[in-house]
């Protein structure tokens, strides 16, 4: 039971942080999902994501100075691609929260936060490499793990691998 108690405290802290963000951005962000494993909220107005990120990093009550992880996700049923960002206040407060940002599967894009957290630079390149949504305002939007001339976006659910790459048979 001890562990459950610690978890609920963590969720409470994330909730308090969420309230500060909600006060400023109101309808631009969704309601707070207070699940025990990864409390999160979703950015509804995607264009505001960079502003929200900057606010979260710099507000004296939030100080989310550490981006632990940024994962690209394919939401096939919703017809969307998205990112899940795990943020944390390292050394200042102990709260953490996750943020989701989504964009349409075809031709959508997400604002970049590489200027807010340096670490987002490579994470966003990886998400682009694997799922194919560009990040607006990214300083260096290239593929990172796959070769530059690779076709398709490997982590999309409907990905089919190309037949050959420079004369080498790919599927085996």
């Amino acid at each position: 039971m001890e562990e459950g108690k610690i978890l609920s405290n963590a969720v409470e802290e994330s909730g308090a942080a969420y309230a500060v963000i909600h006060e400023k951005f109101g309808e631009a962000i969704s309601a707070f999902d207070d699940n025990a494993t990864m409390p999160f909220f979703e950015v509804q107005d995607t264009a505001l994501w960079t502003d929200i990120a900057l606010f979260m990093r710099d507000h004296p009550k939030l100080k989310f100075n550490y981006m632990a992880c940024l994962s690209g996700v394919d939401y096939l049923e919703e017809g969307k691609l998205g990112i899940v960002v795990n943020l944390e206040s390292l050394g200042v407060f102990s709260h953490r929260i996750a943020v989701k940002v989504k964009c349409p599967r075809d031709g959508g894009s997400i604002p970049s936060v590489a200027g807010v957290w340096h670490t987002a630079n490579w994470h966003e390149r990886e998400a682009y490499d694997m799922l194919g949504m560009p990040f607006d305002g990214h300083p260096d939007m290239r593929r990172i793990l796959c070769p530059d001339d690779w076709e398709g976006w490997p982590l999309r659910k409907d990905y089919r691998v190309q037949e050959s790459y420079h004369g080498i048979k790919v599927p085996y």
Partner: protein, 395 residues
């Protein structure tokens, strides 16, 4: 910087500065890697150099990309464990630990206490082995050959013990979701204690060989300084972040397993031997952590419950099918925070999405800024201090 009538300063030694006049210079592209021994694997750095000075170094990755995340979507949860071994192949057990910690957050299982103790002992042993490789190869990068041999001699003892317990030397598949593959063999604890007693003086000897070695100190002190706030902004973790003076250790700050019950210090450089945030600080943190790991192992052996009625697979589910939801679970690896973002739909036995947040990948992303304006030999010192494993960078 092609210049006519340009002046060029270079430093020959501490007190001799050479001034060259009318020396036209131009930028040159120098490709380092992917088969360069000091890049610790298949990393390629495209350096733009002006004489001996690096003006820009751009890392190129992906030579070892094995589609870990795509594989995860096609195999079930327990079958992902061997893949995590192959990410950071120098610390396989720590990678398994991070993955199992993440999955167990989604599952409602109670892990037997003895399992937790064994997990911590083997992962701390693996941490020491990994740090020994880091220190040994770092020394060899900077021209010191002897410490490398010492490190590998002692790492061999650890690998032999792990082989005895798990059946494999590097790719273990020992920590399972909910438990362990096997209990440790009879007499394992005694042999570990024997090793700890043997290794303590050796670790000190290693410290003296390197940190009291003037050549080593000259090559690393004040080189590649990373300020604490920039390190946090870059998402650095583990010995890299602690090298910049931030006392942050997930075993302390986001505790998992039985670490809250154990007494150990989180060493950070005090600025007496090194400049806080430089290559030497990062090396010192690793060297000091070895001692802390030894302490943890001793305490675990002391407190470990006995084998009565113990089944290492008691809590291992027949089918791992976590409830619907998402989790970001992480653990302190020898190289920093290894995190797994896992998305489960509650029906399938394989994850919808499993992303590995690799510590090396994130630490390496600062390479461009760290190398700007450095000398080429110092670039080697910086890469070595990052202690990257390309298997984890590229996944």
């Amino acid at each position: 910087m092609a210049g006519q009538g340009s002046l060029r300063l270079s430093r020959k030694s501490d007190d001799v500065v050479v001034l060259e006049k009318d020396l036209s210079t131009e930028q040159m592209v120098l490709s380092m890697g992917p088969q360069h021994p000091s890049t610790h694997g298949v990393l390629r750095l495209e350096c733009l150099t002006d004489g001996e000075i690096i003006t820009e170094a751009e890392p190129y990755l992906g030579y070892l990309h094995r589609c870990f995340e795509k594989h995860c979507e096609h195999v079930d949860y327990p079958a992902i464990v061997p893949y995590t071994d192959r990410m950071d192949y120098l610390a396989g057990i720590n990678s398994e630990m991070a993955y199992c910690v993440a999955v167990e957050k989604l599952l409602d299982v109670e892990i037997p206490r003895r399992v937790e103790f064994i997990r911590v002992i083997v992962s701390e042993l693996n941490r020491i082995a990994s740090h020994l490789v880091a220190i040994g190869t770092y020394a060899i990068d900077l021209g010191a050959f002897t410490p490398f041999l010492f490190c590998f001699r002692d790492r061999e003892h650890i690998l032999n013990m792990l082989e005895w317990a798990t059946g494999a030397r590097m790719l273990y598949n020992y920590i399972w979701v909910g438990g362990l593959a096997y209990d440790v063999p009879a007499g394992f604890n005694e042999r570990v204690l024997e090793f700890v007693n043997y290794f303590r003086p050796k670790a000190l000897e290693l410290q003296q060989l390197l940190t009291e070695n003037e050549i080593f100190v000259k090559r690393t002190k004040g080189v590649g300084i990373m300020p604490a706030d920039v390190a946090i902004n870059y998402g650095w973790s583990g010995p890299m972040l602690r090298g910049s003076g931030v006392q942050w250790d997930l075993r302390r700050n986001d505790p998992y397993s039985i670490y809250p019950e154990l007494d150990f210090a989180v060493p950070v450089p005090d600025g007496k031997l090194s400049v806080v945030g430089d290559c030497l600080s990062r090396h010192l943190v690793r060297a000091l952590e070895i001692e802390e790991s030894l302490k943890i192992i001793e305490q675990c052996i002391d407190k470990m419950p006995g084998t009565e009625g113990f089944n290492p697979r008691a809590a291992v589910p027949k089918r791992v099918r976590p409830k619907a939801g998402e989790v970001y679970g992480r653990a302190e690896n020898p190289r920093g925070e290894l995190g797994f973002y896992i998305q489960s739909d509650g029906k399938s036995t394989s994850p919808l999405r499993c992303k590995a947040r690799s510590s090396c990948f994130v630490n390496l992303s600062a390479m461009k800024d760290l190398s700007r304006g450095q000398l080429i030999p110092d670039l080697v010192a910086i890469i070595g201090s990052l202690d990257i494993v390309l298997g984890e960078v590229d996944r």
